[in-house]
Each structure stands twice: as C-alpha cells, then as structure tokens.
C-alpha cells in the first residue's frame, strides 16, 4: 500500500542511490588503476642507506593522465590518488620543509614553501621571504621589495616576525632569497638581485646581515657582481651562481660560489634550434672560477684548482656544489665518470679526486646529484619503457659504492610504451 502510494518517490530514490554508488565505485577503481605502482628495487648494497630518501617526479601518460609522484623504499604515492583532504592540504611531493607544517603549524602559516627561504637547527627555525609592493605610474612600474622575516625559538616556542625594506633598491627588478643562515644571533640572507644600470643588466649576489636584537639590517656584502649587455653585444656573458644546495636548510658556514665566462663560438653555424625552438648556441665556457665565503668571518677566498681540473671543468656543463662541516665538494661529469673534487675548509686545499664510473654503472648523463653528510646520492632523471631510473649511493670519504638500485614498475604488466617518468628532486631526511 505504502509502496504503491509513494512509488515515484521510492523509484527515483532507488535509481539515484544505485547509479551514484555504481558510478563512485567505478571511478575509484579507475583512479586506482590509472597510475602504475613504482618501487625502488635493490640491485646490490646496503638497503638501509635509502631508508630515508624520497624521490619526487612527474608521471605523464599518452592518454593525458599526469600526476606528481613520490617514490620511497616503501613504494610510490601519486598526488592524484591522494584523498580529497590530503590533496587539499599537502605540499606534494613533500619537499625539505613540508614536515614543518605539522611540527610548527602556527609558525608556518602564510609562508612560501621554498626550502631556500628556511634555516633550521636545534634551537631555531628561521624564515626569510620576499614581498613585493608594486606601484604603477602610467607605464612605469615601481617595485618595493621587503624581507619578511620570522624566527622561531624552539625552546620558548616564541617567534619574532617583522618586515624590513631591502635597502638601496631604486631600480631593482628582481630580488630572490637564495639561502638563509643564522650566525651568532645574526641572520645572513643570501640574496640574488637583478637590475638595469646604463643599459646593462646587473646581477649581484649579496649577503644581508640582519641583527635579531634590533630587527634591523646591519650590513650588506656584495660577494659577486656581473654586468651583461642585454642587446647588441652578444659575444659573451658572465654568470655567477651559488653552488650550495639551495634545498639544504641546515647550518652551513661557507658559501660555495662560481663565476663563469661564456663566449660565443667563432662560427655562428654552430647555433641550432632545439625542439622548443629555442636557440641553442654552442656557447663555450672559457673560464670557471670558484670561491668560498665564510659567513662568520666574512672572508672571501678563491679556490685554486690544478690545470687538469680547470680544463675538465671547461668541457662539462653539469657542475654542482655541496657542503658539509669540514669539506666543500664540486662535482661534474666527464667522459662517463662522475668526479668529485674534495676541498678542505681549513686550508682550501684540494684533495684527491673521488670518481664514480657511470659507464660501468650504466648511468646516463641526465642525473641529479645530492649530498648528505658523508654520502653522495645520484639518481637518473628519466624513466620510460623498459628503461629504469638508476639510484646509487656512494661514500664520500672512501669513494666506495654503498648502494645500487633502480626505480621500476612493480607489476611488469604495467610496462607500456605510453608513459614517461621524470624525477626532479630527492629529499634526504
């Protein structure tokens, strides 16, 4: 009787419930199978050294599914497979500062998640971001740059937040924080500054000192500066860069700097266009100079390399730098080998080379090199059909290979030609 009376209401409700349940079950199955499970498979060595690493990258599929992905020794996690709230909240893939969001939730409010803006030790967590106020006068834009500083004292759980104007910035067009360090109660903000001066584009690598008792900028030190002609004179240009791992948020006493001279080759025919239509001129590096800057004493020292190292460094593009307490390292790839130059920080002398033979390990050129304490971590950037991405860990002191592994698909049936994986970062916790 009741059914007969309410049949419209009952039928409609049943149709809705059945169809929508079926739809959501089917969708969740589709999402679950959309992305292949990845794993870090050990070939040889000690698995414990990869217990604390997170490799992040992107997965692309020909049928237009793409997702950020993270691989650890426990398997893979795809951003697209996260639950709604995880997706909403998480910095994914997690970077070096992502976990601070859980540990120091209030401190981390309204802060950029860029690792270069952070400094972390036992007592303090410091943050320096850049805020821009832009004003427009007709067609001219005027930017005012500010440092947004916040330092958390971990023992008292109190933070000191303030904003200060970056000094001397009449015509700055770009201000970027490259690294933040805390030295004897003073913040050292390594800053990359760009501006135009007399039709020259000027780049300066500066260190600003901020006194945390007065919250004022008490010093600035220009480490390196270059002027490049933006138009016309394209014979060559000079590059300056900070080689310290900008993702490293730990305490570092020294900055490792590089200044390189690039010259246009004699014959213009060496210019070629790559797939994106960008001109890839056969620029040649004619000189590379390296410096160490002591943040505490503010001493600036050149590194004297042997002629062999200097020449090798001129014929490679992939130069990276690393730091630990007592050593600075410069790595580069040459003739199928990864070379590590070991520079002592007490007398700036260069020790004997550490070499990892990539040809033997079947590693391609496209890699990322990371260092943590006394270990070197290398991963290949690409994985595609049947070609795994290698991951190796080496000992910096002895040059021994500690671990060799590769990122592969867990289920071999998932291997198709229709995908590509690109890895771009490795977080070592």
């Amino acid at each position: 009787m009741l059914v007969k009376r309410f049949w419209k209401l009952i039928t409609l409700t049943i149709v809705i419930i059945v169809v929508l349940i079926a739809y959501f079950i089917q969708t969740s199955l589709v999402v679950a199978n959309q992305f292949p499970e990845l794993e870090l498979k050990t070939i040889s060595g000690d698995e414990s050294v990869i217990k604390n690493i997170q490799i992040s990258g992107d997965y692309y599929d020909q049928s237009n599914y793409s997702s950020a992905v993270m691989v650890t020794d426990e398997g893979s996690t795809y951003r697209e497979k996260l639950s709604y709230f995880e997706y909403l909240e998480a910095t994914f893939p997690p970077n070096e500062v992502a976990s601070f969001k859980d540990e120091y939730r209030n401190f981390m409010r309204n802060k950029w998640m860029s690792p270069s803006s952070y400094f972390d030790n036992e007592e303090y967590l410091a943050y320096v971001g850049v805020d821009v106020a832009t004003e427009r006068f007709n067609t001219i834009y005027h930017h005012d740059y500010f440092f947004e500083v916040d330092v958390l004292n971990k023992t008292t759980n109190k933070s000191n937040a303030f904003k200060i104007k970056v000094p001397g910035q009449a015509d700055y067009s770009d201000v970027q924080v490259m690294d933040v360090q805390l030295v004897n109660g003073e913040l050292k903000v390594v800053t990359d500054i760009g501006y135009y001066h007399n039709e020259q584009h000027v780049y300066e690598l500066m260190v600003y000192t901020i006194d945390l008792s007065t919250n004022k900028i008490t010093g600035d030190d220009t480490l390196l500066a270059v002027e490049n002609n933006e138009e016309g004179d394209w014979d060559g240009w000079t590059d300056i860069s900070l080689l310290n791992d900008y993702r490293d948020i730990s305490e570092q006493k020294y900055l490792l700097l590089q200044k390189s001279e690039n010259k246009k080759p004699e014959s213009v025919s060496q210019e070629s266009h790559n797939e994106d239509g960008v001109v890839e001129a056969g620029w040649g590096v004619t000189d590379r100079a390296f410096f160490l800057y002591n943040l505490e004493t503010e001493e600036f020292n050149p590194i004297n390399l042997s002629d062999i190292h200097r020449n090798e460094l001129l014929s490679t593009d992939d130069v990276t730098g690393h730091m630990n307490d007592s050593h600075a390292y410069i790595t580069y790839v040459i003739e199928g080998k990864l070379k590590v130059l070991d520079i002592r920080l007490d007398d700036f002398s260069v020790g004997s080379d550490i070499v990892f033979n990539w040809d033997e390990l079947d590693i391609s050129d496209a890699t990322q090199v990371k260092m943590n304490e006394d270990k070197i971590y290398v991963m290949e950037r690409f994985k595609n059909y049947k070609d795994p991405a290698k991951v190796i860990v080496g000992d910096m002191a002895t040059g021994d290979l500690l671990y060799e592994g590769e990122i592969v698909m867990k289920d071999v049936d998932d291997e198709t030609e229709n995908y590509e994986l690109q890895f771009y970062n490795m977080v070592i916790n």
């Binding site: 009376r5 419209k8 209401l9 409609l12 809705i16 739809y23 089917q26």
Partner: protein, 276 residues
Amino acid sequence: MMSYLKLTNFELSRFFKMYLVLIGITLVMQTLSVVWTANNYLGEINEQLSSGSTVEEAINGWGLFSFDFITRGFWFSAPILLCIASLLIYVFFIWYRDWLGKNTFAYRLFMLPTARLNVFLAKATAIFLMVLGLISIQLVFLTIENELMKMIVPNTFREDLTINEIINGFDYLRVLYPVSFIQFFINYGIGFMAVIVVFTGILFERSFRWKGIILGVLFSGIALIVFFLPILLHETILNHFFYPTELFILMLISGLIVIAGSIWMSNYLLNKKIRV
C-alpha cells in the same frame, strides 16, 4: 515525517509528466545524435575509401571515432541544457503555481494539519531529487549510448572510451560528475544551499510583494556574504592565515549557517507573514 514524505511525493507527482518528457527528449535527442554523428563519420570514411584510399589513410585523415565526437556536438548538450533550464525555472514555478488560478492552492496547502515548514522542505527535497535523478539517468544513458556507438562504428575506426574518459573529455560534465565523492557533496551541497536561499527570497516576495523583492535580494546578498566570509577574511585582513583544510571547515560551517538561517527565516515567513 509522514506528511513530509506525502508532500514530497505529491510535489514529485505534480511535475512527473513534465519530468518524464524531459528524460524522453534527452534520450531521443542524444540517441539521434549518436546515430547521426556516427553515420556522418562513416559516410566520410566510406567516401574516402571509395575514392581509392586505404583504411589507414582514411583514419589519418578523419581520426579515430570516439564518443568525444558526440559529446562535442550541439544535439548532445542541448537536452542537458534544456533540463538544467527547466529545473531552474521550476525552482520558482514550484511556488508560484500554488498562487495561480482563482482558488489559490497555497491556501489549501497551508491549511493542512501539519507544520508549514514541511511544505517548504518537501518542495526543496523534490527539486533536489529531480536534479539527482536527471544526473543519474544521464549516466545510464551515457552507458547505453556508448554501447550503441560501438554497434554502429566498426572496431577499426573506433577508439573506445570508458564513462570516466567521456566525462573527462568534457568540462561541464566533470562539474556534474566529480571524481571524488567529497567534491560531489560540495558541488551539490552548494546547489542545495542556493535553492534554499532562492526559496526564502520567493517567500519574502510572497509575504511582502514588491517590497519583498528588495528584501529577498537583500537576504540573498547577505547569505552570499556570510557563505564567502571565511574566504573574504582570509584574502583581506587575515592575510592568508588559514590552511586549506581549516578554510574548508569554515566554509562548511558558514554554508550550514546560511542553510539554517534560510530555513529559520522561511519558517518565520510561512507562519507569520505569508499572504495567500
């Protein structure tokens, strides 16, 4: 409870013929659109084949046939838009029809021995069920039409898509059919809230006539501000203070406040101010 269900069933019955017509139009138009688009494609392919091309050349020229060809066409979307428009209009008409004619039906409705709010809730439920009903039936239709397409177009010329891929290929379908259940809940929850607020606006008009229109618009404006208050504060004076999950919870609360406030206001208007 019983009178609420009776009223809901009654509201459904009143629109049911029209509802079936909408479903019928959708099925007919979309089926025709499948047959028409598929045959058109096959016609072009056949023409190219008879002019001496190989199958491969024909596929290169025209592409593999997929359901996307159909969803992109006017005749597929037109009935969906028609259904949406009809229900939008009916959100108003479900109230105004009771005031039409000589013997105001509203008078009888409000004289029923039950809380007047039940009339309000029954109308809201009816609209909500009809929306979800169309959404569900469209999913069934998609499945049927996809099979139909497979029967018409031979394997060689076809790229088979799953229901999810069909929805993915078309933006507004993704709004109607989100991947996650929570997103579904959000989309339709906001829709439900909007219907309740509009209902309250209508009751303002039915209570105070011309003046009521202004009050109704004012009420809707306030509801809108209350709902977006967390985001407004977050973006302005609070300087991005909240984390996304916190903002979500605050918006959930502000949404519930809007719904509760609207129902309370409607209850008051229905009991004290309504004119029949």
